[in-house]
């Protein structure tokens, strides 16, 4: 449908696009993302002939974009630019009817076809009820739907939108993308959006295009493009990627800068935490804030404690869920424990998968340990006494163990041990 071949573009002396090769199939729903000045809007403007590429070529349905005159192009391609501020008071119907401009002769009135198409697009975009309203009486979301309706009235094969939701409240953002999704599914409309909102884009677009400094850094489905490594490389930001439980699409969360700043004011006291199942997440934040150097292991990927540790940027040994911890991970965990001044074992339950987390403690009789004992080990033992046996062995042979009955006393206990 749309193909670009090594397009380059510069504003004055500054190179914005440094050779973009793209091929977009009919019916695709593409989201272009990237940091500011990565060239995403410029790419869209090149593809919509608003800007003319310095070199390279763009083909729309196997014909050079430059060979289309503006009216021909307006029938194939509709664009919703970033600034759609309409600072004059047309009514909604008139605005949408302007989308028929490429089909109308200068002096002809409105044809039955024009009226029919405008009515259709108003139905699709749910703007029929706004028909007689003035554009400035509408909310941001309604306004954007009207602008999209006008674009649809052009009967395009391809719709491009530059930051379609950047000025909208969150409820309208979803509404607009739902509409785009519907148009894509129902009418096989090819849609290309540019957005700085990674999560919205990931949620709705079939394919993402991640730009960095005028080049395509990554392209493909959201799960492949939105990785911690890619985001770090392109945005220089520490993020954690979770999975949206409803859509199973990736979901990006920024790790707050504060947490990384704190690292610089750390205490010279290392604590290794053994936890899981969310038994540590509540106090991990506190320990981090107090400036202790934390490590944690071994956690299952996706576990609540794992997410907390990820967000805090704690050094961690992780393992895939639902299988036994492997020897390799145990070795890694041991390395962290070796460095620690204190080991904390939370009140986690033990099963086949994580028994190694308890066993490992037997190797360090000299290290100071805090063991949560607010829950009886018998109740947390899901492997027929194996965990209990190790627990008792620990208590018998180890003199450096402090049992903690009250969770709330954890901090004060650590402070005592620290001195």
């Amino acid at each position: 449908m749309l193909k670009t071949d090594k397009i380059k573009f510069s504003y004055a002396q500054e190179k914005i696009l440094k050779g973009i090769d793209l091929e977009i199939e009919a019916g695709a729903f593409i989201g272009i993302i990237g940091p500011n000045a990565s060239g995403k809007s410029t790419l869209l403007k090149n593809m919509s002939k608003t800007l003319k590429s310095d070199s390279g070529s763009i083909y729309l349905e196997h014909k050079l974009l430059n060979d289309y005159n503006s009216l021909e192009l307006a029938k194939k391609m509709a664009v919703v630019p970033q600034n759609t501020e309409v600072n004059f008071n047309f009514n909604v119907y008139d605005i949408i009817m302007m989308g028929r401009h490429p089909y109308q002769k200068r002096w002809s009135g409105l044809s039955q076809k024009d009226k029919k198409i405008v009515k259709e697009v108003m139905e699709v975009t749910d703007t029929l009820k706004l028909k007689r309203k003035l554009i400035n009486e509408l909310s941001g979301g309604e306004k954007q739907r009207v602008i999209i309706a006008r674009a649809l009235a052009q009967k395009p094969d391809i719709l491009m939108l530059d930051e379609p939701t950047s000025s909208l409240d969150i409820n309208y953002q979803g509404e607009i993308y739902d509409l785009l999704d519907y148009l894509n599914q129902e009418f096989n409309l090819t849609i290309i959006t540019v957005s700085h909102d990674l999560n919205l884009t990931a949620q709705y677009c079939e394919e993402l295009l991640l730009l960095k400094e005028g080049k395509i850094f990554a392209a493909g489905p959201a799960t492949e493009v939105l990785t911690e490594k890619n985001i770090k490389a392109v945005y220089n930001a520490e993020v954690i990627i979770r999975t949206n439980p409803l859509s199973e699409k990736p979901f990006v969360t920024l790790i707050p800068e504060v947490n990384r700043m704190k690292k610089r004011k750390q205490k010279d006291f290392k604590i290794h935490v053994i936890a899981g199942g969310g038994t540590a997440k509540n106090w991990l934040y506190k320990l981090e804030n107090l400036g202790y150097q934390l490590s944690i292991g071994i956690l299952n990927i996706g576990d609540a404690d794992w997410q907390a540790a990820k967000e805090l940027g704690i050094e961690m040994v992780e393992a895939p869920p639902f299988i036994d911890i492997s020897e390799k991970e145990i070795q890694k965990n041991k390395k962290l424990i070796q460095k620690a001044d204190l080991i904390i074992l939370s009140d986690l339950p033990f099963g086949h998968g994580n028994l190694a987390n308890l066993e490992v403690l037997l190797n360090y009789p000299d290290k100071t340990k805090i063991l949560f004992s607010n829950l009886d080990i018998k109740k947390r033992d899901y492997i027929k006494g194996k965990a209990e046996k190790i627990w008792n062995e620990l208590l018998e042979e180890d003199e450096n163990i402090y049992l903690l009955k009250e969770k709330d006393n954890l901090i004060s206990k650590i402070k005592k041990l620290e001195n």
Binding site: S48, S70, A74, V86, N89, F90, N91, D94, H101, P102
Partner: protein, 337 residues
């Protein structure tokens, strides 16, 4: 359908109002002519006495017609400029066109050039030349790449206006013998209008009007913003230049006979827009009717308030338009379109 009926009513009212105004303006003046004579004159110009016929036919009627054309022209040009620049604060004055046209005319008068080519008086041509040169200069000064930012356009217009105004003042100082006439011209006046004035500007006026009417629909599309307009298949730069040219020609043609009559180009498009909405296919004709009526009232007042002395009509339009514009600013600063 209700909207259509309303619009028809508005137009009907505006046309009737204008006709009544023309009729009234015909028998207001320093010599008394009763309405029977005027009616008789309208039916058959030979039916009244020779002096009455001259007063009506050679003095009042050309002036009324000219007021009509000038008022309509300024309002239409103002509406076009506001649409192209997408800013309701623009009129031919603010961006220096009037000053440019004025300087052109003054230069022509100063150098004593007044050549008639093919029966066309060259004064409007000079005004046009001055106006177009000014628009071109302002456009070039304000342009950034291939974009025309509104703010720089206005500022460039103001700056160029200042320069041209001082140039006009300088020419006035050099040519003191008919200073009063020049001052009147600068303030805007329709005094001493003859049919020759109407004939002089009519070709330019009609040409410009035809172009604007041809592009009425494109004006609406332009209002969506240049980027959106381009995506709807409009050749934005070409349309802008043609319309700027036509509006400049229109302004230049009327300024060449009337001098600088202020505020019509700014305020009348607003009133028309508030009455009938922003669609230029309806707005431009109504703005023309409103502008014509407004100037006719103002001019009739100008020649009667201090009769037999004449006030420059520009004083009256500014006096009426200024406060109204301030009222607009205070009340509708958000939603001025």
């Amino acid at each position: 359908m209700g909207e259509n009926k309303k619009n028809i009513f508005i137009y009907l009212a505006a046309v009737i109002f204008s006709l009544v105004l023309i009729f009234l303006a015909m028998f207001i003046g320093s010599s008394q002519i009763n309405s029977a004579d005027i009616t008789a004159y309208i039916i058959n110009s030979k039916a009244v006495s020779a002096s009455t016929a001259i007063i009506i036919g050679e003095i009042r009627l050309p002036r009324i017609i000219l007021a009509f054309i000038v008022g309509a022209g300024l309002a239409v040009a103002g509406a076009v400029f506001q649409a192209i620049i997408r800013n309701p604060m623009v009129d031919p004055y603010i961006i220096g066109i009037s000053a440019g046209a004025g300087t052109g005319v003054m230069l022509a008068l100063f150098l004593g050039i007044e050549i008639t080519i093919f029966n066309l008086n060259s004064l409007p041509a000079f005004a046009f030349l001055g106006a177009v040169l000014t628009v071109f200069t302002v456009y070039q000064l304000a342009r950034v790449g291939n974009k025309l930012p509104v703010l720089t356009f206005l500022l460039a217009g103001v700056a160029v206006s200042f320069i041209l105004n001082s140039l006009m003042s300088f020419l006035m100082v050099l040519r003191t013998e008919n200073l009063q006439q020049l001052v009147y011209w600068l303030m805007g006046s329709l005094a001493g209008t003859a049919w020759s004035d109407v004939r002089m500007i009519l070709p330019y006026f009609l040409t410009a009007l035809a172009v604007i009417v041809f592009y009425l629909k494109d004006l609406n599309i332009l209002l969506l913003g240049e980027e959106s307009a381009a995506h709807l298949g409009l050749n934005v730069e070409r349309t802008k230049i043609i319309l700027l040219g036509a509006a400049s020609l229109m302004t230049a043609s009327v300024v060449s006979v009337s001098g600088s009559i202020g505020f019509i180009g700014l305020v009348v498009p607003h009133i028309a827009r508030m009455t009938i909405g922003p669609d230029h296919r309806r707005l431009i004709p109504l703005a023309a009717l409103f502008g014509a009526s407004f100037l006719l009232i103002a001019d009739t007042a100008a020649r009667t308030i201090m009769a037999p002395m004449e006030l420059p009509v520009g004083i009256i339009t500014a006096l009426a338009g200024g406060p109204y514009f301030i009222y607009l600013l205070r009340n509708k600063s958000k939603n001025i379109w």
